[in-house]
C-alpha cells in the first residue's frame, strides 16, 4: 500500500507543476493545491493565491523541467530547473519539497540556486540533467519589468543630476567595466560617464529624462527616451537663451549578470540646440 501512495504522490506533484508552471492553467491547478497552502519559500508570497499570482506575473518564456523525484511518507522532493523566469540571466536549479495531504499539496519548502555554466563548474559536471546551459542562455530573455528595473537608476541620475548621487546610481545600474559608446568605436568608462552626467546637470539643472518606450531582445535593452530642460550654463558650446529643448535619445544596452554591460547611444543634440536658438 505504501508503494501506491508514494507513486501517487509523485505523479500528483509532477502533474501539478506541469499544469501551473508550463500550461498555466490556473483553474485546473486549483485542484492540486490546498486553499490553505503553507509557503516557506522566501521568494513566494503566502498561500495558494500568493503562488498563483507570482506565476501569473512571470514572463511567458518561463519553463519548468523536472529531474530526479522521490517520495517518502507524506513528502515529495523533486529536483528541477526554471528557465526563462526573467529574474536574472541564470536558470534556477530547484529542490522543491512538498507535503501532501488528502491528495493535494498543503505545504512547500524550497532551495533555489543559479545554474552555473561549464566554465564556472569545478566538478565539470552539470548541476542538473545531462548538459550545461549556454553561457548566455538565449532561452532566458529579459522581461520588460526586469529591464526597466535594471536601467531605471541610470535614468534617475539624468533627472536633475545635481540633486542626485550620480556615481551611486550608475554603480547600481552598470557593471564596473561598463562602456558607454557615443560613436561606433569610441566609448567612455562608468567613472567618465559619471562626470559627463554631472557636467550636463550643471548646465541644465532642471534636466528631465523619461523612458518613452522600452523593449528587450535577448540580453539587450532598447530605450527611446525624451530629454527636456532649460540650459542655464553653456550647453554643447551654446550660451543659454532661457529657451527649453525637447529632444529624442536612443539607447541600446547589453546586460550581463543582471547589470548593464555596454550602451550605444545617440541624442539629437543638434535639434536641441536649434530649439534653444543659440
Amino acid at each position: 500500500m505504501e508503494l501506491t501512495k508514494v507513486e501517487k504522490n509523485k505523479a500528483l506533484v509532477l502533474k501539478a507543476f506541469e499544469t501551473l508552471f508550463n500550461r498555466r492553467d490556473y483553474a485546473a491547478a486549483e485542484r492540486y493545491w490546498s486553499p490553505n497552502y503553507i509557503q516557506h519559500s522566501a521568494h513566494i508570497p503566502t498561500g495558494r493565491d500568493g503562488l498563483f499570482n507570482l506565476v501569473k506575473s512571470a514572463p511567458a518564456t518561463m519553463k519548468y523541467e523536472h529531474g530526479a523525484i522521490v517520495a517518502d511518507g507524506d513528502f515529495v522532493i523533486v529536483h528541477g530547473r526554471f528557465s526563462g523566469h526573467g529574474l536574472g540571466p541564470a536558470n534556477w536549479i530547484a529542490a522543491d519539497i512538498c507535503r501532501i495531504k488528502d491528495g493535494v499539496l498543503v505545504e512547500h519548502w524550497d532551495v533555489l540556486q543559479d545554474e552555473v555554466t561549464k566554465q564556472e563548474s569545478k566538478s565539470g559536471l552539470p548541476m542538473f540533467g545531462t548538459s550545461f546551459p549556454e553561457s548566455d542562455p538565449a532561452g532566458a530573455p529579459l522581461s520588460i519589468t526586469t529591464a526597466r528595473a535594471i536601467v531605471s537608476p541610470l535614468y534617475e541620475a539624468l533627472n536633475q543630476p545635481a540633486k542626485k548621487d550620480v556615481a551611486a546610481l550608475l554603480a547600481q545600474a552598470c557593471n564596473s567595466d561598463y562602456r558607454s559608446f557615443h560613436t561606433n568605436e569610441e566609448s567612455v568608462s562608468r567613472d567618465e560617464l559619471t562626470e559627463i552626467f554631472k557636467m550636463i546637470g550643471a548646465s541644465v539643472p532642471d534636466l528631465r529624462w523619461t523612458i518613452e518606450d522600452i523593449q528587450t531582445h535577448g540580453n539587450q535593452i532598447l530605450v527611446r527616451g525624451k530629454a527636456t530642460g532649460i540650459p542655464t550654463g553653456e550647453f554643447w558650446g551654446a550660451k543659454p537663451t532661457g529657451k527649453s529643448f525637447n529632444t529624442m535619445a536612443i539607447d541600446i544596452f547589453t546586460v550581463k549578470k543582471g547589470k548593464l554591460s555596454t550602451c550605444y547611444h545617440v541624442e539629437n543634440w543638434v535639434g536641441a540646440l536649434q530649439q534653444i536658438g543659440k
Binding site: Q39, A42, D72, A94, S123
Partner: protein, 121 residues
C-alpha cells in the same frame, strides 16, 4: 532494510562528518568514481575529501529526509556556511551495497527578507 541502511549513512554524514568534523569517516560511505554535480567541488572522492577537510566542522540541522529507491534527498539548515545561514538540499544516489556513488545539491543563503512569515525551514 535498505532504507534503514541509507538512513544510517545519512546520520553519519550530518552528525559525525559535518557537525563533529570527522571527515575521515566519509571515504567508507562512498564508492568511486563518486560523481560530483556540486559546481564548487571537484569531481571524485579526492575532490569531496579536499572540500570536507577544508571546511572542517559544519554546524547543521537535518530538517527532512526522503528516501525512495536508490535516492535520498536531505533538507538541511546550515547555521553558518561561508558566513551565512544557508538552506540546502543534498541528493545522494546509492549503489546496491549502500555506498554513495553520485551527489547533487542546492544551496541558498537564507535571505534577510521573506515574502511570507513561515521561515525557510
Amino acid at each position: 532494510m535498505k532504507k534503514d541502511q541509507i538512513r544510517k549513512v545519512i546520520n553519519v554524514i550530518y552528525d559525525q562528518v559535518f557537525n563533529q568534523g570527522q571527515a575521515d569517516l566519509y571515504p567508507d560511505l562512498v564508492s568511486g568514481p563518486y560523481i560530483q554535480h556540486n559546481p564548487l567541488v571537484p569531481d571524485g572522492v579526492a575532490g569531496v575529501m579536499g572540500f570536507l577537510k577544508q571546511v572542517g566542522r559544519l554546524h547543521c540541522e537535518v530538517k527532512r529526509i526522503a528516501i525512495d529507491g536508490d535516492l535520498a534527498f536531505v533538507h538541511v539548515r546550515y547555521l553558518n556556511l561561508f558566513g551565512k545561514e544557508t538552506a540546502g538540499v543534498d541528493i545522494f544516489r546509492f549503489d546496491d551495497a549502500g555506498k554513495i556513488v553520485e551527489h547533487w545539491d542546492g544551496l541558498q543563503p537564507v535571505p534577510a527578507e521573506s515574502n511570507n512569515s513561515n521561515t525557510m525551514f
